[in-house]
Each structure stands twice: as structure tokens, then as C-alpha cells.
Amino acid sequence: MTNNSESHNLEELLAGYVLGNLDETELAWLNEQFTANPQLREEVKQLEATLTLMPYELPENVPKSDLRQAILDNVQAKYSHKPRLPRLSWIIGAVTAFSTLWLGINNYGLRQQLASANQQLEQHQELISLLRQPNNRLVSFQGLEALPTASGSLFIAPQKQKAVLALQNLPSLSGKQVYRLWAISPGKKTGCANFTPDREGTVHLELSNDALSNANSLLITIEPEANTLQPKGNPIMKGYYSL
């Protein structure tokens, strides 16, 4: 470092930088010098190191307690508690927790499926039981002009006093409207059931109605509300006994 006025000024500013007492203009100028001459950082490091030597001048006070031993005891305690095992055990714990949760959810799902399968099995067994009955009758349903694609069937087991209605391609209805099944016998129309299709337009319905066994034919109408005593809407499907 030369002794001209500029370098003298630079040195003082470097000292001011380390002491943290530069104003904005000085700092901006010095930053330009740092950019132009990265070696100046070495000067800064030396000044910083100088400042940190100051505590050597301090009176030779000593701690009242055995600070060295206290620090080492603390460090040892942390080494014995902290190392990787707890971290590993934490990971294992987390994995176990997530696995348990996943298995729990999975188990719940499986139980639901099992319950559903059991229910289906019972239904199938019941259906088989129905099919085995003598005098069973099958009614075939076909959509009329308004619903040409609608179709389905009604299975009637008179001895069990049960019937199963299955329909498809029925449009959903609005408001209080319902589909209604009517048993037609000479001089009489008996309302047997109200129903609405699911989202896919299908109907599965189990019935128990004596009127079905005695009917000559069957009709399905769209009614403005449930449980009408006489059909108010036009027939949209008609059933024919095929067995």
C-alpha cells in the first residue's frame, strides 16, 4: 500500500467498514473499490482479525463455576441423546404411523367391500331361492312410444309373495314426479309401487304385493306425485307375461 492521500483515505475507509461506521457515500465508493480490486477483502480480514484480538487486554477474570466441565457434560449429554438413532427412530415411527393409517384405511375399504359382497351374495342367494320356486312368473316390460328404449322385467314368485322389478333406460324425473307400477286386473288398476331410477337410469326394486300375482297385465306411468290411487299420467311402459 502506497502512502499517497488516496490510499490513506482507502485504508481509513476499510477500517471504517470493519467498524461499521461508514456513511452511504463512503460505502458506495468502497464497494466500487472492492469490485475493482478483490484483494482489498484481504485487508478487511486482517482488520477484523485485529479487532478480535482486543479481548486479550481484559482483566484476567475467571468463572466462578467449573464452566469447562459443565460445557463438556452438556455436550456429552446431547451426544448420547441426540445422535442419529433418535432421528432414525423418528423416521421409523413416522413410517409406522403412515403404514398403520394406510392399513387402517385399506382395512376399512376391504371391510366395506366384504360387507357389500356379502350383501350381494345374500341377494343372489335370495334370487336363486326365488327362482327355485314353482309357479314363478316373468313379466317382460317394453317402453311405449314416449320411451322406446326403456325395457326391463318383473319376476314374480307367488309362493314367496315376492317380486323383483328390474328396468333400464329410464330418464330421471323432476320435482315430485315418480314412476308408478300398476297391476291391471279386470275393472281394476292397483298401484303397487313408486320408484325413481338411479343416475344410470336403472331400477332394481323388490316388491311384495298380492295384486301382482293376480294381474292380467302391468303398466308403468309417470305420476305427478307418489301414491296416486288412479293413474293420472299416460302409460310409458307396458308389461306382458312371458312365463
Binding site: 467498514y17 482488520l47 477484523e48 482479525a49 477474570n61 468463572p63 469447562r68 456429552q76
Partner: protein, 193 residues
């Protein structure tokens, strides 16, 4: 065992800290033997309370384990440790004094923690020898230079606060502190390098 002790004593601070970082907890004892008292004395000087100085000394040494941020590429371990100590103690002072503005000036010094050369300034000289040299170096400064440097370093006062306290113009305070530090570096050239 004796050979091991001799070997430890001849190791650089940086090598000892690396050993500590690698899991050798006894290496911290060596670091304490070298600088523990200086750390304690600096804190005691700044806080003027022996119990607080002990607690904070312990805290700083334990922080070396919890957050071993020292990077040898950035400077000597000693400089890092002392700047860390001063920075932490200033934080403590700040909490105690709960003042605002002048701490902003200190921020620049605090930010310098960890940015030092890799020279170990005090490898082979005993603490007492170094203490003697530092005292002599400080005695060679003008009384204003020394007083201003000490107020700035130990009490964390801003230059304007020092100017107010000593009833001196701000420019004069700045000049004294800067020239004082430059003189100190010149006097301690051998220790710094």
C-alpha cells in the same frame, strides 16, 4: 496418552474444530482451554455480570455443537469464535437495553462473522504473551483512539452515541476509531499474520 496430548496441543484450531464436528466431544475441551476464558472475559466485560457471562459462554460453546457453521475457507476459527461471541453478547445487550437505532450500525460488524482469513494468529504464542502484546499495542494508541475503540467494541455504542458521550464531533470520533484500528493492526501485525 502423553503423545496424544502433545499431538492435540500442536493441532491447529481448525483441525480441532473439525475433529469436534466429526464427533470427538473432547475436542471441545481443547477449544475451551484455548479460548474459553477469553470468551468469558469478553462477555463479562460487555454485560458486567459474571453469572450471565457464564451462562452465555456455555451457550456459545454449545452452539458450536448445535450449529457448527464455521467454515475454514472463510477465516480463522479464533476470529469466528470471538465475532460470534460479540455478536451474541450484543444481542443480549440489545434485549436488555431495548433500544433501536444504533444497533443498525452494529449490524455491519455482526454480519462479518464468519468472513475471515484462514490464518491462525495465535498458534504458538501463549495467552499471556499475546495479552502483553495486545495491551502494549493498545497503550500505544492515543487515549481518545483507545477509548472510542473500546466503547464501540465492548459496549456496542454507535459513533454518534460515542460522540455524544465524549462531547466530540462525529467526524472526529470516526477518524479516531478508524486510525486507532489501523494503528492497532500495525502494532499487532505479527499476531494477525
Amino acid at each position: 496418552m502423553i503423545n496424544a496430548d502433545v499431538e492435540t496441543k500442536t493441532k491447529t484450531d481448525e483441525a480441532i474444530f473439525a475433529a469436534f464436528k466429526g464427533g470427538d466431544s473432547n475436542a471441545l475441551g481443547t477449544i475451551y482451554d484455548r479460548y474459553g476464558l477469553l470468551v468469558y472475559r469478553l462477555i463479562y466485560r460487555m454485560l458486567n455480570n459474571s453469572q450471565e457471562a457464564e451462562d452465555l459462554t456455555q451457550e456459545i460453546f454449545l452452539s458450536l455443537q448445535e450449529r457448527p457453521n464455521y467454515n475454514p475457507q472463510r477465516g480463522s476459527f479464533y476470529t469466528y469464535l470471538m465475532m460470534l461471541t460479540r455478536s451474541r453478547t450484543i444481542d443480549r445487550l440489545r434485549a436488555k437495553r431495548s433500544q433501536g437505532k444504533f444497533w443498525q450500525d452494529l449490524g455491519k460488524i455482526k454480519d462479518l462473522v464468519g468472513r475471515h482469513n484462514s490464518v491462525n494468529p495465535i498458534d504458538s504464542v501463549s495467552i499471556k504473551e499475546r495479552a502483553t502484546k495486545v495491551r502494549q499495542a493498545l497503550e500505544s494508541l492515543s487515549s481518545n483512539q483507545r477509548q472510542i475503540l473500546e466503547l464501540s467494541y465492548y459496549e456496542g455504542l454507535s459513533q454518534s452515541e460515542i460522540a455524544k458521550r465524549l462531547n466530540l464531533p462525529l467526524g472526529t470520533v470516526k477518524t479516531h476509531s478508524r486510525r486507532g484500528l489501523l494503528q492497532l493492526r500495525k502494532n499487532l501485525h505479527n499476531l494477525v499474520n
